[in-house]
């Protein structure tokens, strides 16, 4: 019983300590981001472009494939049900809205967490092991400015673009089912999709992608910067960046879905 109480106490204190560290980290990165906006010449643009290439261009293929298959699966599943009621054309609504409002940004965020989030954590964790972060500090650098801001900006730029590509490919997947399996006329499916998706739905998709980008970059960098200075620590940082990243993305998605639904009545 005594052990249970002391263990609870330790975890409770640990939780508040971790929360304090996270808040300090968010504060520090926000401060550096504002500094970067005021002094754009101080931003490491070369690094930013490097991360945009790695997290954006290199991820385009897998994002396109997964989102296309997601649209295809969604199309097949809904076609079976819709056909029974003679409402085949509404496959376009279901696929289009599901992909744009929910699955597009979510799938892209999952892929980005697995690729970029874990890569950020592993990179920064390895730099900690190799004392490179200590070296940066003693050389007069501000590590978050040098190491985190380029990753954050890169993610904020590429995630909405990737999501837009994912949305389009997801719709194309549904389109494939509608035209090939359901034998719907090409133009009818296209018109139904255009009619179903409001521009505010696309804005919602972009807003979610932007928020997820911040979560992925911040979680990956936080885990990496705080990893212990050994190989196991780097592994743990990469794993926890993915797990906590996915959890926070789902939480943020839930909140944003509620907020957008309320706002649009």
């Amino acid at each position: 019983m005594k052990n249970l109480v002391s263990s609870f106490g330790r975890n409770f204190v640990g939780f508040f300590q971790e929360s304090k560290n996270i808040l300090a980290f968010i504060g520090e990165v926000t401060e550096e981001l504002i500094f970067g906006i005021r002094n754009p010449h101080k931003i490491k643009w070369k690094s930013t472009i490097y991360y945009m290439d790695g997290c954006g261009r290199e991820a385009t293929g897998i994002v396109a494939l997964i989102c296309f298959l997601m649209g295809l699966i969604l199309g097949f599943q809904s076609a079976v049900q819709m056909k029974q009621f003679g409402t085949d054309i509404y496959v376009a609504n279901l696929v289009g809205l599901s992909i744009v409002k929910e699955l597009g940004p979510l799938m892209v965020a999952m892929i980005a967490t697995g690729r970029a989030g874990s890569a950020f954590a592993a990179e920064l964790g390895t730099m900690r092991v190799n004392e490179e972060i200590d070296a940066l500090t003693t050389m007069g650098f501000v590590p978050p400015r040098f190491l985190i801001i380029p990753k954050l900006i890169a993610m904020m730029v590429v995630m909405p673009i990737l999501t837009l590509i994912g949305d389009l490919l997801g719709i194309l997947g549904g389109f494939f089912v509608g035209v090939v399996q359901l034998k719907l006329p090409f133009i009818a499916y296209l018109n139904q999709t255009i009619k179903a998706i409001h521009y505010l739905d696309v804005m919602e998709s972009m807003a979610k992608a932007f928020a997820f980008a911040i979560i992925i970059a911040m979680v990956g960098c936080y885990r990496g910067m705080n990893s212990s200075s050994d190989a196991q620590g780097v592994g743990k940082a990469a794993t926890s960046s993915v797990v906590s990243g996915i959890f926070l993305i789902i939480v943020a998605d839930t909140l944003m879905t509620i907020i957008f639904t309320q706002l649009r009545g």
Binding site: N130, E131, E132, D134, T137, M139, G140, F141, V142
Partner: protein, 251 residues
């Protein structure tokens, strides 16, 4: 000679665990000062306190008259420009060439033009005889060369003080001796004050002006002086044993 580093009643540790306390010493300009002690006694931790990476539990550290413990982030960055650090692993950035590893500091903290930065980098690489390797990446050179490149980077801003964390670790005896010769050359040519954490007795006897010996048990400095004298004259048996590479009762 004037003291450039002062450590005053320093108490350090992790969380509530005290590693060392009541550490008082001064390092004079141009001195080669070695921090010595058994494994896990806190030598590297002391070095990391001296360079401002760790905050002590109590006490002060002054570098060229500026208190690094009480300084805010901005002032601490200014104090850090007064010294260079060579880390145990070298800590070179793998995605940059040796020249870029040096010019990146100059780009960040000076107003030098790209040409001036290139010239300074080449000058520092020539100092450690690596000027022909300026376009090489750290992965393409040997361990000894990495350490020399790290020294060149530490010298980029022409600091008066250099800190070395285990410079000879992982090097063969010849490379270690070359590194010792380089350290002596830096002191002779630039009158640089050099603070080293090391275990290597050969290095200690060939380059040190003064050592301090940390003791894990008492958590204090147990000896301070010239290693050649302490080797036979120290009143502490363990220090004599350590410096004579003899097995001691205390481990």
């Amino acid at each position: 000679m004037e003291a450039v580093i002062k450590v005053d009643k320093l108490k350090m540790g992790y969380g509530d665990r005290v590693i060392m306390e009541c550490l008082d010493f001064e390092i004079k300009q141009g001195e080669i000062f070695i921090i010595l002690g058994g494994s896990g006694c806190g030598k590297s931790t002391l070095l990391k306190h001296m360079i401002g990476l760790y905050k002590p539990m109590a006490g002060d550290i002054t570098i060229k008259g500026k208190n690094i413990v009480k300084a805010d982030a901005e002032k601490k960055r200014d104090i850090m420009k007064e010294f260079g650090v060579m880390y145990q692993s070298g800590a070179l950035f793998g995605s940059m060439t040796l020249e870029e590893n040096i010019t990146m500091i100059l780009e960040e903290v000076t107003d030098m033009s790209p040409q001036e930065r290139h010239e300074r980098a080449m000058e520092k690489l020539a100092l450690v005889e690596l000027d022909e390797f300026n376009t090489f990446y750290p992965a393409e050179i040997s361990g000894g060369m990495k350490k020399r490149a790290a020294i060149a980077r530490a010298m980029a801003l022409n600091p008066d003080i250099l800190f070395f964390d285990e410079p000879s670790a992982g090097l063969d005896p010849i490379s270690a001796a070359n590194l010792d010769a380089l350290i002596l050359k830096l002191r002779e040519e630039f009158k640089t004050t050099i603070v080293i954490v090391t275990h290597e007795l050969e290095s200690i006897f060939s380059i040190a002006d003064r050592i301090i010996m940390l003791d894990k048990e008492t958590k204090r400095i147990i000896e301070d002086g010239d290693p050649r004298k302490l080797k036979n004259e120290s009143k502490n048996e363990w220090v004599r044993d350590f410096l004579n590479r003899r097995e001691s009762v205390q481990t």
